[in-house]
Amino acid sequence: MLPRRVELASILCAPVPDRRARQKSKYTLDRGIPGAFEGETVTRRRFMVVGANTAGAIAAASFTLPALGLGLGPIFKGKPARWETVGTVDQFNKFNYVPVVLTLEPNIGEAGKTTVYVRKFNPAIDTDRYDRGAKFVAISDRCAHLGCPVRWVDAAERFICPCHGGVYDLLGRPVGGPPVRPLDRFYTRVIGDQVQLGPRFSVDKELRRFSPRDPGEPLDGVGQYLYPSRPGAQKL
């Protein structure tokens, strides 16, 4: 067996003729290609192959890219702010929440509606430094864990989520269960004696405002960078 292996090794280690050394010239004439002419660097065959493949790629891209854009477009599109009247000023008080129904998506019936808990701004409770100047506090019922609808339980003075047991205090800050940040809020304004609710915004644990994030996305520490703002999010 041994001599044969030596023989094999000598074959494998023999210098291989370098293809690039042989085809050094960029001119087809010098490379000895049949039908070459003076000054030609790309053969007609090669030109046709590249041309046909390019034409095919352009044709495929011309329907694939617009179709992909149709599917991915909504990710990048912002929505104009909607303001909806939810009641008059004297319907609400400073100490307890009144549930109102807000339409997030028109024309799809119940699926496009949500419940919002509204009360008047109360300087004795709302002591955080970010809410100064607001006349109303509107807290979304969308749980910050995975989006189930939370309910304000008067006796416990807590928002409680039926799905996975998230519990929030009067200001919507999580005090138990899996939620990663406080409940979202809505911008409010008063026109005459009408209370209007506008776009949603999210808050971190110090109630600092952020553009709306989906449930389950923490905003404290590195969270705000791991879960970036939507490309189409508008600043108010």
């Binding site: 989006g147 189930c148 879960y227």
Partner: protein, 269 residues
């Protein structure tokens, strides 16, 4: 191309031989003879133009290792569960209306209560989806515990895992379509679970919803993913999966390999 000469049939024993034609009958070929020949002629005609019989032989008449048992049928069972989902799904799509403002729920109610066999076919689709998921996992377990994922079948394992994920996507997108309370809230939670993936999660959940909130096109988006996008991928990958099974063959169960190894050891000693 000249036609290949036909190999003469081997001689039949005397009692099986056709009697010679009686005088007056034309060549012994009655109508029944012609009808018998017709089927063979059609198959021959197609085969001469496609050479499909070779592919069919390659696909069907394969050598199977010793020890092959009932566990080896789990893959075919999964395939038939998928075919059942495909057929029932196509006909359910004739009645379904992806309308979030009440039409979707109403169309499902109509299929279930008013259409002939509607409840049965919808039930097949609904329960069949669970059957398929269970069978996929059993099939995966069979492949794992029999060591059938090892060289040279690693690529088939990878394709199988992609098929498993696509089956899960089918389950997820199909769950929304009845558009009742359970479907709606399960989808809200499911989409938000997708959103918790760092960096890409928010984009994924916006893609699934078609926007930042559950909107007018979310249902039709799920419907299109459920009945066009994923089934196309599933069919293509099942084709690749079956091609590799046919090309590489199946493995013997591990105990057969152990037996063989023991015999070898004895022979060597």
């Amino acid at each position: 191309m000249p036609r290949a000469p036909k190999i003469p049939a081997p001689p039949l024993p005397g009692p099986l031989k056709e009697p010679p034609p009686r005088p007056g009958e034309a060549n012994g070929a009655g109508l029944d003879e012609h009808l018998k020949e017709a089927g063979i002629n059609v198959v021959d005609w197609v085969d001469e133009r496609t050479s499909l019989s070779g592919a069919a032989r390659w696909l069907m008449f394969r050598k199977v290792p010793k020890g092959t048992n009932w566990f080896y049928t789990l893959g075919s069972a999964t395939l038939f569960a998928f075919l059942s989902q495909a057929v029932t799904g196509v006909f359910l799509a004739m009645y379904y209306r992806p309308d979030a403002s009440g039409g979707a729920y109403e169309s499902i109610r109509y299929v279930t209560n008013d259409v002939f066999l509607g409840q049965f076919v919808r039930g097949m689709h609904k329960w069949g989806s669970s059957v398929m998921v269970v069978l996929v996992f059993l099939h995966m377990g069979r492949v794992f515990f029999f060591g059938a994922y090892k060289y040279p079948r690693e690529l088939n394992w990878v394709i199988g895992v992609v098929l498993l994920i696509l089956t899960m996507v089918m389950s997820f997108t199909g769950y929304l379509l009845p558009f009742d309370q359970r479907a709606y809230w399960a989808t809200i939670v499911g989409v938000n679970i997708n959103g918790t993936g760092p960096l890409l999660g928010p984009y994924l959940s916006d893609f699934l919803r078609g926007g930042s909130e559950f909107g007018a096109t979310t249902l039709s988006r799920f419907y299109a993913i459920h009945m066009l996008l994923i089934p196309g991928l599933l069919i293509a990958l099942i084709g690749a999966h079956l091609y590799l099974v046919t090309k590489l063959g199946t493995t013997a169960p591990p105990w057969e390999k152990a037996k063989k190894a023991a015999e070898l050891r004895e022979a060597e000693v």
